[in-house]
């Protein structure tokens, strides 16, 4: 009861109330809605506990098992240090916390994603093959858009950017609209299933 039925009931109750609140424009309904919005912002802020607990548990286990000790220590020390620096020195612009963000986090995170460009170039050379009509169509559309969006496209011929824009505005739009409608229906169906308790994966094991 405590493990599954009560959480499912809470989920159903909140879903039911907030769904029908949309159609009830009275002042008590609006006050209830505003209160719940503030509560959600407060409750969801504690979700970080899950991430931190899981990460610390994983790396302390690695240290106990003597696997990759220096790296796990680096992670845990930097986690604690950054957290403490923020709590002690504040988080405003110009603080040490802000400098750590600008000169450690930004370069590391940007660089991690920047190396994807190299992998994409390698894949373009080795893997993108026009094996059949569909793949050829995909590559042709890609070439036209790639040339059309850069200034060189306009220098080749004035119609190149216009044609590329037409591909984006018409056939691409049709494909993406079909996908968007499908995804939208899927989201709504999943939301209803969660509220009614048909979808229970969020309960875990």
């Amino acid at each position: 009861m405590l493990q599954k039925k009560i959480p499912m009931f809470i989920c159903f109750l909140m879903g039911f109330l907030l769904f029908f609140q949309f159609y009830i424009p009275t002042s008590w309904s609006q006050n209830f809605y505003s209160t719940i919005l503030r509560w959600i912002l407060g409750i969801s802020s504690f979700a970080i506990v899950l991430a931190v607990a899981s990460l610390v548990r994983h790396h302390t286990r690695k240290i106990k098992e003597r696997k990759d000790i220096p790296y796990s220590i680096t992670l845990l020390v930097s986690l604690v240090a950054t957290a403490l620096i923020g709590f002690i020195g504040g988080i405003k612009s110009g603080t040490l916390f802000d400098k750590i963000f600008n000169y450690i986090q930004i370069p590391l995170q940007s660089s991690m994603f920047a190396i994807l460009a190299f992998y994409m170039a390698s894949a373009a050379y080795r893997a993108f093959r026009a094996r059949n009509i569909e793949a050829t169509l995909l590559l042709l559309a890609a070439f036209i858009v790639m040339i059309g969006v850069i200034p060189i496209g306009d220098l080749i011929h004035p119609y190149v950017p216009s044609f590329a824009q037409w591909i984006l505005d018409v056939p691409n739009l049709a494909a993406k609209r079909g996908i968007a409608i499908g995804v939208g229906l899927g989201i709504i169906a999943t939301s209803i299933k969660i509220i009614l308790g048909i979808e229970r994966n969020w309960l875990g094991r």
Binding site: F22, Q30, Y33, S34, L37, R38, I40, L41, S44, S45, A47, K92, S93, D98, F101, N102, Q105, I106, Q109, S110, M112, F113, A117, F118, M120, A121, S122, A124, Y125, R126, A127, F128, R129, A130, L139, F143, V145, M146, I147, V149, I150, P151, I152, D154, L155, P161, Q165, L168, D169, N172, L173, K176, R177, I179, A180
Partner: protein, 273 residues
């Protein structure tokens, strides 16, 4: 044939080196290729341009450092445009890792235009829940967001004396590296009829054309090119404009890679037959 076989098996690190060289050269020796103006970017520019003085724009900087070169120039350009037109700006972020980037925009840009904090602009900081935050703007902003990023009570800030909710907000611009702009459409526009615009990475840009056609987005900036176009429209050369030459040259290089790779593939395939 041996040459084609060599090309087919070329070390990937040579490909990396060629790409790096083709990016560095146009950065050191700019080509100054002309930057055009596409209709999605122009639509957003015109929408902001026609706003009266004092109108309020919400700039939601929902991205992090992983998409910095694409999204950050967009935020800076939109903020500059708003201040050039003497519009008021409310900044926030729905991505915790992007808070520092949003803080930089809301600290550096207003100084250049002598804007006063609390009266001309305010930074609400990060909010943890997307749905509650977007819907919260439709209720009483001061009740849902009692404090700003710096700990000031929002009901003491002059900007919120006449800005209560979406009714007083002209436009929400969501700059994001994910599907967050669509959440703004679903919730802010769906429930409150708010006008929304988006600045997204090039990866996502092609997916948002259905929303542009229906008017659910009043404008759309796509990738570094979109940011460069906007910088050109506000006549300010920054990161996006600096990088667009390198983008052009590397696009040609990638096309050549695909063509050479396919030529080699077809020739070797015929040879095996």
């Amino acid at each position: 044939m041996k040459f084609l076989e060599y090309l087919a098996k070329i070390d990937r690190r040579i490909i990396y080196l060629i790409l790096a060289i083709f990016i560095i050269i146009p950065l050191i020796k700019p080509l100054n290729l002309p930057i055009g103006s596409s209709h999605p970017v122009k639509s957003l520019f015109d929408f902001i341009e026609k706003q009266p003085e004092g109108a309020v724009i919400v700039l939601s900087m929902d991205y992090d450092a992983s998409v910095y070169p694409e999204c950050h120039p967009m935020s800076r350009a939109i903020a500059r445009h708003a201040f050039l037109k003497n519009l008021r700006l409310i900044g926030l972020t729905l991505n915790p890792a992007g808070t520092g980037l949003a803080l930089e925009v809301m600290t550096e840009i207003p100084k250049e235009y002598n804007k006063k904090y609390g009266k001309d602009y305010v930074f609400l900081g990060f909010r943890p829940d997307i749905t509650a935050t977007i819907l919260g703007f439709g209720e009483d902003i001061r009740k849902i967001f009692p404090y700003d990023y710096f700990g000031n009570k929002t009901d003491t800030l002059p900007i919120f004396k006449d800005v209560k909710n979406y009714d007083q907000i002209a436009l929400v611009v969501s700059i994001s590296g994910s599907a967050l702009p669509v959440s703004w459409i679903y919730l802010a526009r769906g429930r409150y009829g708010q006008d929304i615009a988006a600045g997204v990475t090039a990866v996502m840009a092609a997916d948002y054309y259905p929303y542009l056609r229906t008017g659910q987005f009043v404008g759309l900036l796509g990738g570094m090119k979109g940011a460069a176009e906007y910088e050109k429209l506000i006549e300010r050369r920054e990161l996006a404009t600096s990088g667009i030459d390198a983008v052009s040259i590397s696009h040609i290089l990638i096309i050549l890679f695909v063509i050479i790779g396919n030529i080699g593939y077809i020739v070797l395939l015929k040879r095996r037959k």
